[in-house]
């Protein structure tokens, strides 16, 4: 049996387990509803305004930086596995690659993208 068939079994059983827990609870838990209980929690006061609003952009900047560096790691992992047999040339190439990314990080740092204002 291939590895991925095993992973698939894990995925299916995990899904069944997660759904089963919630469904079991739904079958046995009591239902006593009242309007106040169904309000969302906000320290006891009535809520004001919509929740799903535009959010601050600092989060977006971190997400952008993350995407850049996360793609980098996809390149770094195969390189690291074959590191010992690749020789000096591949090592220097990767240093150049990381250096370009470090310049990017430095630029983001300089422009204040890493500051939480």
């Amino acid at each position: 049996m291939s590895d991925w068939a095993g992973v698939f079994i894990f995925l299916v059983v995990a899904l069944i387990f997660g759904a089963g827990g919630i469904v079991t609870s739904f079958l046995i838990h009591p239902r006593r509803q009242n309007p106040a209980k169904l309000e969302e929690y906000e320290c006891g006061l009535p809520t004001r305004g919509p929740t799903w609003v535009q959010f601050r952009t600092s989060y977006f900047l971190y997400a952008l930086l993350f995407v850049i560096f996360d793609v980098e790691t996809i390149y770094l992992y195969p390189w690291a596995v074959k590191f010992q047999s690749l020789g000096l040339f591949a090592f220097i190439e990767m240093i150049i690659f990381i250096f370009i990314l470090i310049v990017g990080l430095w630029y983001a740092w300089k422009e204040g993208a890493l500051e939480w204002k």
Binding site: G18, P30, E42, A80, I98
Partner: protein, 350 residues
């Protein structure tokens, strides 16, 4: 005998099924299913008792006694808690997005269970010894960010939304040093297979050759699981309980169990990558390999719990600054130094 206890059970099951004359694929699938059920039971019991352990550690650090009513020394307390949580009503807020709200606790457990497939608990005791084990583990664990965010967003509560935004920002920022920190070990071993990594540590554990990587990994891993001092996500004094604010009963319990299972995953991973996995230190081979693995894992879990009651929570700007300005450059420097060191090592020809 004790050493090969679990491997022996699997072999016995395989030979038993082989006698039935069913196709090999089906037999293998049944063996895998049995392994999976064993892992699932292990996760659940462990998550339950880790909650108990956490409360006991907290109590003793604060000079209290902790839970001691249910069962001897309070050992049955987690089961009383689980029973209570199952019987509690799952309140769905009126304004919540019902589908996503209920989907999040169902899905939160999936990546955690899937990750346990590749963790070797002892010699030959990984359910699947995959050739890209480390990469698979990192890829799957990063999914849990999404499910926490789903829960927080769908609750339609302001605390939940702030909490879930923090989840994304924090877990995304600390995933990088976590992933980059492990690269030093991968470079030395030259394989992503868990058993190869452990085999490479037969004589020297990687914590001695890669101490900086271990510190980077462990710090980032504690932040990834949203544990104190990085628990801004659910900082109860600021945003009630973050993404979990609107969850009750079993839905909350799913998040809670997933959190403790994730602590197990990161500590197991640290054991595999840096503490020699199931290798016995000082030649104490007469103790089975899986006992060594659990000893190392629980020692790390104890450290994680101790951290929570030792350090105060840090601020959001400190959190993001520490991740991006300290850990990421440090991890990149570690890769560079490891590479240069290995090239010099090869050039000298030791």
């Amino acid at each position: 005998m004790l050493e090969n206890l679990f491997v022996g059970v699997a072999d016995w099951l395989r030979s038993l099924l082989g006698g039935l004359g069913t196709p090999v694929e089906i037999n293998e699938a049944i063996v895998m299913l049995v392994k999976l059920v064993a892992i699932l039971v292990f996760i659940l019991l462990n998550a339950a008792w880790l909650v108990y352990m956490e409360r006991k550690v907290a109590a003793y650090m604060q000079a209290r006694i902790g839970p001691n009513r249910v069962g001897p020394k309070g050992l049955l307390q987690p089961f009383a808690d689980v029973g209570k949580l199952i019987c509690k009503e799952i309140v769905i807020p009126r304004k919540a997005d019902i589908v996503v709200f209920l989907l999040a606790p169902v899905l939160i457990f999936v990546p955690t269970v899937m990750v346990f497939a590749v963790i070797p608990f002892g010699k030959n005791m990984a359910a699947i010894d995959m050739n890209i084990g480390v990469f698979y583990l990192l890829a799957i664990t990063s999914l849990s960010t999404l499910f926490l965010w789903m829960g927080g967003w769908a609750s339609n509560s302001k605390y939940s939304l702030i909490g879930s935004m923090r989840v994304v920002a924090q877990m995304v920022s600390y995933e990088l040093p976590l992933v980059l920190g492990l690269l030093g070990v991968i470079m030395i071993v030259g394989s992503l297979r868990m058993s190869d990594i452990i085999a490479a540590q037969e004589h020297v554990w990687f914590i001695f050759t890669q101490p900086i990587a271990f510190l980077i990994y462990f710090t980032a891993a504690v932040a990834e699981t949203n544990r104190c001092p990085f628990d801004l996500v659910e900082g109860e004094s600021e945003i009630i309980s973050g993404p979990y604010t609107e969850y009750a009963g079993m839905a909350f319990a799913m998040f809670f169990m997933a959190e403790y299972a994730n602590i197990m995953v990161i500590c197991a991973m640290a054991t595999i990558m840096f503490l020699g996995g199931w290798h016995a230190p000082f030649g104490l081979d007469f103790i089975p390999s899986w006992i060594w693995f659990f000893l190392k894992m629980y020692a790390l879990i104890f450290i994680v719990m101790q951290l929570r009651w030792t350090y105060p929570r840090i601020r959001v700007d400190q959190l993001m600054g520490f991740g991006w300005k300290v850990l990421v450059p440090l991890a990149l420097a570690n890769i560079f130094i490891t590479g240069v060191g290995m090239k010099i090592y090869q050039a000298i020809g030791w």
